[in-house]
């Protein structure tokens, strides 16, 4: 990518803005997905994502391009969601939050099944305590290795393993409860 040309003070470096825009376009869905899984409600998602990316922009110049961008972004999502939950009115996480409308598809039944799975998983995830949920998301959903998770969340690798193990059990119990609640087998 082109380097930043010298510009008068106060001007936006349009070259790096393009790079940031490309990153935003590429990773916006991932970040929103991470925020949802971390418990940010649909009604607040746009605001939280917007502020998150503004913060990301401020640190973009420091991003080490040798690292996976998503683990770097997940750290921002973790912090944003953590602060979000600290606000008293957000502490009671709402299950069954309506999701955005799915795009049109040639396989509406498959899309409906996926949508129901998403709803089920998102609801059950909220039963897993935040710290363990974050590790579970990074490891079992996003596919990061335990060392990558450990580095992103600043915890020991062994803590990652133990949290994944415990969180999986918590998630499975939450899924069973949610299915019972819905009258599903």
């Amino acid at each position: 990518m082109s380097g930043a040309a010298e510009q008068p003070a106060g001007a936006v470096d349009t070259g790096s803005l393009e790079e940031f825009r490309s990153m935003f376009d590429a990773e916006f869905s991932y970040v929103c997905r991470a925020l949802r899984r971390l418990g940010v409600r649909s009604a607040d998602l746009e605001d939280v994502a917007q502020e998150l990316f503004i913060t990301v922009h401020a640190k973009f110049v420091d991003y080490d391009r040798q690292r996976p961008i998503r683990s770097w972004l997940f750290a921002f999502a973790f912090r944003a969601a953590s602060n979000y939950h600290r606000l008293a009115r957000h502490r009671r996480e709402v299950s069954g939050t309506p999701l955005s409308e799915p795009p049109s598809t040639d396989d509406p039944e498959g899309a409906l099944a996926d949508r129901q799975a998403q709803q089920l998983v998102l609801t059950a995830l909220q039963s897993v305590p935040f710290e363990r949920r974050s590790v579970l998301i990074m490891h079992d959903i996003d596919g990061f290795t335990a060392p990558e998770v450990a580095e992103t969340l600043s915890i020991p690798v062994n803590t990652v393993y133990s949290r994944v193990r415990i969180a999986r059990g918590e998630l499975e119990r939450a899924l069973r409860r949610e299915r019972l609640r819905r009258g599903e087998p």
Partner: protein, 270 residues
């Protein structure tokens, strides 16, 4: 302990998590709205009376006063405070309209960790600029969810901040102005391509990208062009072409930020 010491994921759980990951998260319209707000938020503040003039407090206040309604407003205020406060724990929280919530406490994290990158806020003016005066960010129907915003969306690519009336104006060298003009033209074409992909019209995207390649073969946005071309080819069902171009792209741009999106497009196809 190693990865091998973890039991394999239960197949049913794996299936559910894979189905959850498949579902597309947000629409193009949502993405465009959020981008408009981000762009407004990262625009430099004006020199007089701007949000960044007196430090993180103003940045947080500016964000707070421009925030949306209800829960979104409080979320924005808290996040502005988190972004402005910095790892030293000096988060300053102002509620401009509602009674103040308890202070957002910065959790100290080790220096050098990714969390410290994410949480470290103010290095000074950079963060105030990043948070910016988000009240200057409204554009009906398109931009941020901030109905109280008063001023128009600033120009997308800001020219140098407006000089004061009592200061002599500076002129850009002709070469710099030509460079910005070319970048603007490149960007306009790339935007057409992006919109084509987002709307499910890869053919029109490819036409725009071909035009960019003709007019700006070595342009500053060549990387974006090449990356978008791969995505458009994949969306158009031209998989083998997409794969071939992706192989060249990986060699040419090994650290490109577009790679995850490209790999995802190659995996998902049309």
């Amino acid at each position: 302990m190693t990865e091998d010491s973890l039991e394999p994921l239960d197949p049913e759980l794996r299936r559910l998590l894979a189905a959850e990951a498949r579902f597309p998260a947000e629409s193009a319209a949502t993405r465009a709205r959020v981008w408009a707000g981000v762009e407004a938020g990262i625009a430099p503040t004006p020199p007089d009376g701007g949000g960044g003039a007196d430090g993180g407090t103003s940045g947080a206040t500016g964000a707070a006063s421009g925030a949306g309604t209800g829960a979104g407003k409080l979320a924005s205020v808290a996040l502005a405070a988190f972004a402005a406060g910095g790892i030293s724990g000096a988060a300053i929280y102002h509620a401009s309209v509602e009674p103040p919530e308890p202070s957002v406490v910065q959790v100290p994290v080790p220096e050098g960790s990714q969390l410290s990158d994410a949480g470290a806020g103010a290095d000074g003016p950079g963060d105030e600029a990043a948070i910016a005066d988000s009240s200057a960010s409204s554009d009906a129907g398109t931009a941020v969810r901030r109905p109280e915003a008063a001023s128009a969306l600033p120009e997308r690519r800001r020219s140098p901040t407006q000089p004061r009336a009592d200061q002599p104006t500076s002129e850009e060298p002709p070469a710099a102005e030509a460079d910005r003009s070319q970048l603007a033209r490149e960007r306009a074409i790339i935007e057409v391509a992006r919109a084509g992909i987002a709307r499910g019209h890869p053919g029109s995207a490819l036409s725009a990208l071909d035009r960019h390649a003709r007019e700006f073969p070595h342009g500053r946005l060549a990387e974006e062009r090449d990356g978008l071309r791969i995505i458009a080819l994949a969306k158009a069902g031209r998989s083998s072409e997409a794969e071939n171009e992706a192989a060249r792209f990986r060699d040419r741009y090994p650290n490109s930020l577009l790679r995850p999106a490209i790999e995802a497009a190659l995996g998902s196809g049309p």
